[in-house]
């Protein structure tokens, strides 16, 4: 039974991503990707939160600690936040998180923020696919993963 593509797939590293999507824009955008039947990698599992501004840095550390290879936060475009300024808050705060991750020795590319509106189903799929490809290059994340 020689199926080269199947073999490659089995051997290929499959990154595990936790994706925090704001309810109003990015989760709705991912819904639109679904409605439009745009196919993308299944590596990112979504958690819908009220706003990107509600993401505590602890969520990100917790996800890495539990073995995530990448963490995605996706919110409304700057200026379009349903809660007026939550995404600005997220942007300022999460920039520092990125710095912190680098400081403690984790590739900062493993943490990504994106702005995906409710109308951007195709963009959501692209964001996930690109992130998965970038993480494949980086390989598994072990730096913050708890040893169990």
């Amino acid at each position: 039974m020689s199926n080269p593509s199947k073999v490659t797939k089995a051997e290929e590293f499959e990154p595990r991503i936790v994706a925090f999507l704001c309810k109003w824009c990015s989760s709705a955008g991912s819904d639109l990707a679904g409605v439009s039947r745009i196919q993308y990698s299944a590596n990112a599992t979504p958690i819908t939160i009220p706003c990107s501004g509600s993401v505590s840095p602890m969520f990100i550390l917790s996800a890495f600690n539990k073995g995530a290879d990448g963490v995605l936060i996706s919110g409304c475009h700057p200026g379009d936040c349903h809660y007026m300024e939550g995404n600005y808050l997220a942007r300022r705060k999460l920039y520092l998180v990125k710095e912190l991750l680098q400081f403690i020795g984790l590739e900062s590319e493993r943490f990504r923020m994106s702005w995906v509106s409710a109308a951007e189903g195709a963009k959501f799929a692209e964001v996930v696919d690109e992130f998965v490809e970038d993480l494949r290059v980086l390989g598994p994340q072990n730096r913050l993963k708890a040893k169990r």
Partner: protein, 648 residues
């Protein structure tokens, strides 16, 4: 309390079941801690599906439930209602989206099933920590704000007052009426536009339930559906409308002449002026930018001649704050500027007119009192070329969309022209003729048959002046040849675009816009007059190009939505609001600063949440270093549980 969680996995026919092994998801979850019931069903949202949910809650004494199905935007309400019928609190039911976020975007069954399991399991872990919440009842302000007083805003305001509501009608210009006021006749009946609009304008001015604020704009908004607070800025009222007797002593002495907006620049007006004869409010007004008198050393002539003392140069703008329950936004359209279409010579040649200028030429109240004359030499144009889709349906250069009304108003223009100049010839360049509407197609046909309008299917490449004529270079694609017309006048049927200031008002009110800049409806089919923000509704051309009948219908629909909303004694406010865990709060005020709604304040050194103001965004939870504040049912504990479920 012992966790007794139910899980229901929907096939959605084959929509989910084609790529997710729903049986496996249900069976695997049945083994999870606290899950006492887990089953799959072909259509959970069907009546038997809901009955199964209700029965399962009762039979198994469930205290939490996850429906693994489509997006919560679709059936969250269905299943939360079902929960209550089964004596489970609505907020103890959560939706796991395994369709839009899983089944529809992956094609490998093994992979999709694995992801569906993670999504469902995360929701199970979350719901096991959900609190039994009940909606918070908040009082309603039975008063509406209408922004923009064109035909849409006027209609909405009148309908609202018919239902007994008080209305604040805000208009940026000095008079209400909007673009419809400038039209001469309306298709397909050729009713005089002013004659059908002015009765409604009069109704507004005589209506004691309408507080009309012209030369005013919404400056800011706070609050939420049923309880908005809106700040409205009114320009300085240099002429007191109560005192002004409309005697017109002032305009003859005013030394300043500027283009008259009402005549779309075809005539001039003075700095002090009345917008037009039937203006509402009926008062002269002073154009702050043009007036010299604000510096009384330079001029003060109008004040000197005003016997009744209605003019006061020292007036200042005012800002008032109003309590409002709901808002209708009807800020209308502008024509896509001629300056974008240099090839047609707009702005360069005086006899190339825009659609609204031509309306003013045809209008009995216009510059020429209804005689169609060339602005350049006041001669009667014998050959007039109308160019449809000027700026519409041209994604490369201009607007991609169809402006919907131009086919009809061009047919009207050509017909009106022939009525004024029976020996003249009208030509219309068009791409397609879109005349959907009652009596519309017949109207276009009449313009061809009775008025001999020549329709040329093709576009115009260039308009230039030669020997006192406008040379129109076009193509007739049906005959397959180039066309050159020596015209006396060219009229552009420009695209409609959202009025200037739409972007700003959308930002202030926090309502979205579509890719073309029009205000976005909450759902293109099922919520055509609702904005994405609860309590804010849309009417008229601000939402997309539309004609007068459609605008009036939409305004009525928006008004009826507001009436329904404000007919309730109380509105339900979501109980998923922030909650402080006092022992952990140090009173650092990080959350106070982060809250976009000013819903948090320090009380006795601890943060305290005003539940009615809180919208549950979680900005506070995101900044609290001690995790002392949480949004109910999306607590940090719950998110950590969800992460664990996904990474297990």
């Amino acid at each position: 309390m012992t966790k007794r969680t139910g899980v229901f996995v929907c096939h959605c026919g084959k929509n989910i079941a084609a790529t997710v092994d729903v049986k496996k998801v249900a069976q695997d979850l049945a083994k999870d801690d606290g899950v006492v019931f887990s089953e799959d069903y072909v259509y959970m949202c069907s009546d038997p599906g809901q009955t199964a949910v209700i029965d399962a809650i009762k039979d198994n004494d469930l205290n939490g439930m996850v429906i693994s199905c489509c997006s919560p935007t679709l059936h969250e309400k269905t299943f939360r209602d079902a929960s209550e019928l089964g004596d489970l609190y609505a907020f103890q039911c959560e939706i796991a989206n395994i369709r839009e976020q899983c089944a529809w975007v992956h094609n490998d069954m093994e992979v999709a099933t694995e992801k569906a399991l993670k999504i469902t399991r995360a929701s199970v872990r979350r719901v096991q920590h959900n609190q039994a919440l009940e909606p918070i009842g908040v009082p309603v302000t039975r008063r509406a704000l209408v922004v923009g007083a064109g035909i849409a805003g006027i209609q909405a305001a009148l309908d609202l007052t018919d239902a007994g509501l008080d209305v604040i009608l805000v208009e940026k210009q000095a008079t209400i009426g909007g673009n419809m006021l400038k039209l001469s006749e309306t298709f397909p009946t050729l009713d005089c536009s002013q004659c059908i609009l002015s009765p409604k304008m009069v109704s507004v001015s005589k209506n004691s339930k309408i507080k009309l604020m012209t030369e005013s704009e919404v400056e800011s908004i706070s609050g939420f559906v049923g309880n908005f607070k809106v700040k409205i800025k009114k320009k300085a009222e240099f002429v007191d409308p109560e005192l002004c007797k409309l005697r017109d002593d002032c305009t003859p002495v005013c030394p300043v002449a500027v283009p008259n907006e009402y005549d779309v620049g075809l005539t001039n007006r003075r700095a002090i002026h009345i917008p037009f004869a039937q203006a509402i409010p009926a008062s002269f007004t002073l154009d702050e930018e043009a007036c010299l008198g604000l510096d009384p050393v330079v001029c003060g002539k109008c004040e000197e001649v005003c016997d009744v003392g209605a003019i006061d140069y020292d007036k200042k703008p005012t800002v008032t704050e109003e309590d409002i329950g709901a808002i209708v936004v009807s800020t209308g359209f502008d024509l896509y500027g001629m300056e974008h279409m240099g090839e047609f010579g707009g702005g360069r040649y005086p006899d190339v007119l825009d659609g609204l200028q031509f309306e003013r030429l045809c209008s009995a109240s216009g510059a020429t009192e209804g005689d169609i004359l060339r602005p350049s030499d006041h001669k009667v144009p014998k050959e007039v070329v109308f160019i449809q889709c000027s700026g519409s349906r041209d994604p490369e250069n201009h607007c991609a969309y169809c402006s919907k009304i131009c086919c009809m108003y061009t047919a009207k223009h050509a017909t009106l022209y022939k009525h004024h100049v029976p020996d003249g010839q009208a030509y219309i360049f068009y791409i397609d003729i879109r005349s959907g509407g009652k009596g519309y197609e017949e109207f276009v046909q009449r313009s061809m048959e009775n008025d001999g309008v020549i329709y040329l299917r093709g576009r115009v490449s260039k308009v230039y002046e030669k020997d006192g004529k406008l040379k129109v270079m076009g193509v007739d694609t049906l005959a397959g040849r180039n066309v050159e017309i020596n015209a006396d006048m060219v009229v552009l049927a420009q695209a409609m675009e959202p009025s200037k200031g739409t972007a700003e008002i959308a930002k202030i009110l926090k309502i979205g816009r579509d890719k073309d800049g029009f205000l976005a409806e909450a759902h293109p089919k099922l919520k055509p007059v609702e904005s994405v923000t609860a309590g804010i509704f849309l009417a008229g051309a601000a939402q997309g190009p539309k004609d007068i009948p459609e605008t009036v219908s939409q305004a009525g629909a928006a008004a009826s939505k507001v009436i329904a909303l404000l007919s309730k004694d109380q509105l339900a406010h979501s109980p998923t609001v922030a909650k402080v865990r006092d022992p952990y709060c140090t009173g650092c005020e990080m959350c106070v600063d982060a809250c976009p709604y000013d819903a948090i304040a320090l009380v006795d050194g601890k943060a305290h949440v005003n539940e009615v103001l809180c919208e549950g965004c979680g900005s506070c939870a995101g900044v609290c270093v001690r995790a002392a504040i949480d949004v109910k049912n999306v607590t940090q504990l719950q998110v950590h549980e969800m992460i664990s479920a996904i990474m297990a």
